[in-house]
Amino acid sequence: MDKSKRPLEERRFSLLSLVSPIQFMLGIIVAFIAGALFLWAFQEDAIRAYSVLFKGAFGSKRYFGETLVSTTPLIFTGLSVALGFHCGLFNMGVEGQLEFGAMVAAYIGYAWNMPKVIHLPLALLGGAVVGGIWGAVPGYLKAYHKIHEVITTIMLNYIAYAVADYMIAVGGPMKGNSDLPASPKIMATARLDRIWPGTRLSAGIIVALLMAVLVWFFIFRTRIGYKMRAVGFSADAAEYAGINPKTMTVWAMALSGALGGMAGAVEVLGVHYRFFAAFSPGYGWDGIAVALLGLLHPVGVVAAAFLLGMLRSGSITMQAIAGISKEVISILTALIIFFSATNQTLKPMLEGAIRKHNLRGDEDPAQEKKHEG
């Protein structure tokens, strides 16, 4: 065929690649507006609430540090949920995986004695492995017994909660010497260093960012990531190509669980230095919001984790100073999820608008597609 007919090679950068970030921002803006309306409806001063919220999140070094402290586990849990989605799996069990990760990391942290270069990585790894195993269970049930992962992961959360409670209850195997229902403190050799004096921010955030890069690489550049995405989009086509959807399902859930486990491990090793009941204020659940808001892309996940981390730390100040209930932030978070989920409908509109814009500009396809006639 006539080669001149072939359209030119597409450009590296197109305005279309901005669609996702725009979508991301729009969801947040709309949610904040809706949140304000909500506050007003309940006779609250929304402007003041928001300004206190921002002050609480960014107002001082300590506040900003707390924002990053909350961001850290949310990056892990967001990545965890996003990775599952790429294989078509909805991991609602991050809470449970996180509990197990924290428990194991704490145990390795206080019970074993070794040099830091081994101790810290081992504690992290232990948390990831056990979280991964806890995640692989629903993966296996889904792949080989067709039990839907949403149901099993939620059920397993309750088991994890119960196990965690038992571990640190009076007479429990991990109960420390203090009066608290908590494990003993972990050794210094297992701790993640504080990296910003005057705040509680630990090197955990570096691990988190590293994992974001790794997960991106894994999903989009490795063979197994490729296979998972194939299964996620079309199990039939994947099977045709010789990829085993069952194996991939188990692996994806295991890796998703491992990220959840790391979230718990990093909380223990970097923030609390011990395991105690309810150390997670729902980071696992928020991971779902983070993943969706971040459009399942690791970069988006980091951005979304930061946003939710900000809301979390800001809300504490908001409650303390302005006397506005923290629950307002839960509502705001819910609104953000809602609008970021619904604004998928915006995508075609945005793309359409950009295309129209392009047609007026230099990217006119009419000129790129040359006719021979």
Partner: protein, 525 residues
């Protein structure tokens, strides 16, 4: 004759593709008007615009002389224009009647008036000869009937102008005949039909006028009686096309694929393969003819490892692959062009690069340790796009943005480039334009010349007759006939496919061998 539709200077752009470039089309009332054109010429896009599914960037539509703007399909239907898409849009778990009335339900107070609905369906199906079983579930009826349901659905909403997008691609020759009858009845009743097809002989047979699109532009409109098939082909692709490939004599070698006493069940658990045995030799094309749903699909799936067998054996040369995974069979030299390109053959939401990688992702040069070498994959995609003339702005676009025929070309390219020793090709040219068919046919002949073994499954009798060295006929999960090239006539095959006794069909002495499931190949010369 009055003008039913006039489309003027329609322009439709997609990112970096000009799908319709100032297209003007006039359709007279009461005619069957064919739209013809290469894969990616813009036929579906143009009809999506006419049926309200897409909005044009420029241009106008006149319906009986008055300008109209459709905001949706429903809007177009209200104006009397309906489209039957190539991929049907029916609810599988609803009955035929429920599907037809969906969105337009006759009501009695709060309740559905099923009696009235059924009467209406019966009346319409009677009037136009659209035979359907009103109470069957859509998932249980053959594609041909599903298509009639789609047509009935349009008619029940008072549509006067019906667009059929490649309706015959999924039909058997018999069903195509039946469709013709319906189309003629509709024309008698004053309906206007726009008919998209890639089969020139269908254009000749059923249409009044034909418009040819190429590269998004109109090449011309003609009275069908004034043009012949070769002329149409030239108009479409701009050169002469070989409509029937000639193949050299080529002697077959040792047995490459051997299927022995295969039994298997279909998705509903009913017996689909009942003692099927066959063999394909190196340098041989064996064609399987048969009406869709007689076990061909299951046969392909069992051979390629996508479906479990009940019993039997599959051998590649001396290697028993019966218990192997699909991937192991692929590595053992088995290639597969699946019949369902959108479900099996492609990941629609993958880029072309990722689609070209399928099945290659664990082998050099693409696999680099645990990584994929995307630079290499991109190069491979570019080459394949070039070699197989896939019309696309580039390898980064998602597979679902390609036209139907170009999607098929991606699969063909990938499977040919896999260089399999044994190729199972199921409906390899479905939805392809004449030039692409020529290309694929020549490709298959070339593989045969390289001593590959090819099992061809096709509903196109001409394709089977043109390409095969041996022809097997499948009926109700059994092989009921076997012919050497040149022995079979379309009539004989047609009779066997319909389940007639072999003796009435012309007597083939070696058929009983197959029927009893004994070793085949007696007829091999």
């Amino acid at each position: 004759m009055t003008t039913a539709i006039e489309m003027r200077n329609i322009v439709k752009r997609f990112p970096r593709v000009l799908a319709n470039d100032h297209v003007s089309l006039t359709v007279e009332e009461g005619e069957i008007h064919s739209l013809l054109g290469e894969n990616g010429a813009g036929k579906t896009t143009l009809m999506n615009i006419l049926s309200g599914l897409a909005a044009p960037d420029e241009g106008e539509i006149l319906l009986h002389g008055t300008p109209v703007h459709f905001r949706s399909c429903l809007d177009a239907i209200k104006h009397g224009i309906g489209m039957v898409h190539q991929h049907f849009m029916l609810v599988p778990v609803f009955t035929v009647t429920e599907n037809i009335i969906l969105g337009n339900e006759p009501k009695r107070g709060f309740w559905l008036n099923m009696k009235q609905a059924r009467a209406k369906v019966a009346e319409l199906s009677e009037r136009y000869g659209l035979k359907v079983d009103p109470d069957a579930l859509v998932r249980d009826i053959p594609v041909g009937m599903q298509q009639r349901v789609e047509i009935l659905k349009a008619l029940s909403r008072g549509v006067r102008i019906i667009i059929l997008d490649e309706p015959t691609a999924v039909l058997t020759p018999q069903e195509v005949r039946e469709l013709y009858v319906v189309m003629r009845a509709l024309r008698e009743a004053g309906h206007t039909i726009i008919f998209i097809t890639h089969k020139l002989q269908e254009v000749e047979e059923i249409t009044d006028r034909v418009t040819v699109l190429r590269d998004g532009r109109v090449m011309g409109t003609a009275e069908t009686q004034d043009v012949d098939e070769a002329g149409l082909a030239r108009m479409m692709v701009g050169r002469d096309v070989v409509l029937h490939v000639k193949k050299e004599k080529h002697s077959a070698g040792e047995v490459r694929l051997q299927v022995e006493h295969l039994f298997a069940k279909d998705a509903r658990g009913l017996p689909a393969l009942k003692d099927v045995s066959l063999e394909v030799r190196a340098g041989e094309i064996v064609g399987i003819a048969g009406v869709a749903g007689n076990g061909q699909n299951e046969l392909v799936e069992v051979i390629t490892g996508l479906r479990n067998k009940e019993s039997g054996k599959i051998l590649l040369g001396d290697l028993d692959i019966s218990e192997m995974t699909p991937r192991e069979r692929m590595y053992a030299g088995l290639g597969h062009i699946p019949q369902d390109r959108q479900r099996r053959g492609l990941v629609m939401n993958f880029s072309l690069i990722d689609n070209f990688l399928m099945g290659f992702e664990d082998s050099p040069p693409f696999a680099k340790g645990p990584m994929l070498d995307y630079a290499e994959a991109k190069r491979f995609s570019r080459e394949s796009i070039q070699m197989f003339d896939v019309r696309t702005p580039g390898p980064h676009v998602l597979a679902r943005t390609l036209s139907g025929g170009n999607q098929q070309k991606v699969i063909i390219a990938r499977e040919f480039r896999r260089d399999p020793a044994i190729l199972i090709a199921a409906q390899p040219t479905r939805g392809l334009d004449v030039a692409a068919i020529e290309f694929v046919h020549e490709g298959l002949i070339k593989l045969r010349a390289q001593d590959k073994a090819i099992l061809l499954i096709s509903m196109e009798l001409t394709e089977i007759l043109d390409l095969s060295d041996r022809i097997l006929v499948m009926y109700e999960g059994k092989i009921v006939g076997s012919f050497k090239a040149g022995q079979a006539t379309p009539e004989m095959l047609g009779l066997l496919m319909a389940g007639s006794n072999i003796d009435q069909a012309g007597g083939q002495e070696n058929t009983p061998t197959y029927r009893n499931g004994e070793e085949g190949g007696v007829d091999h010369g």
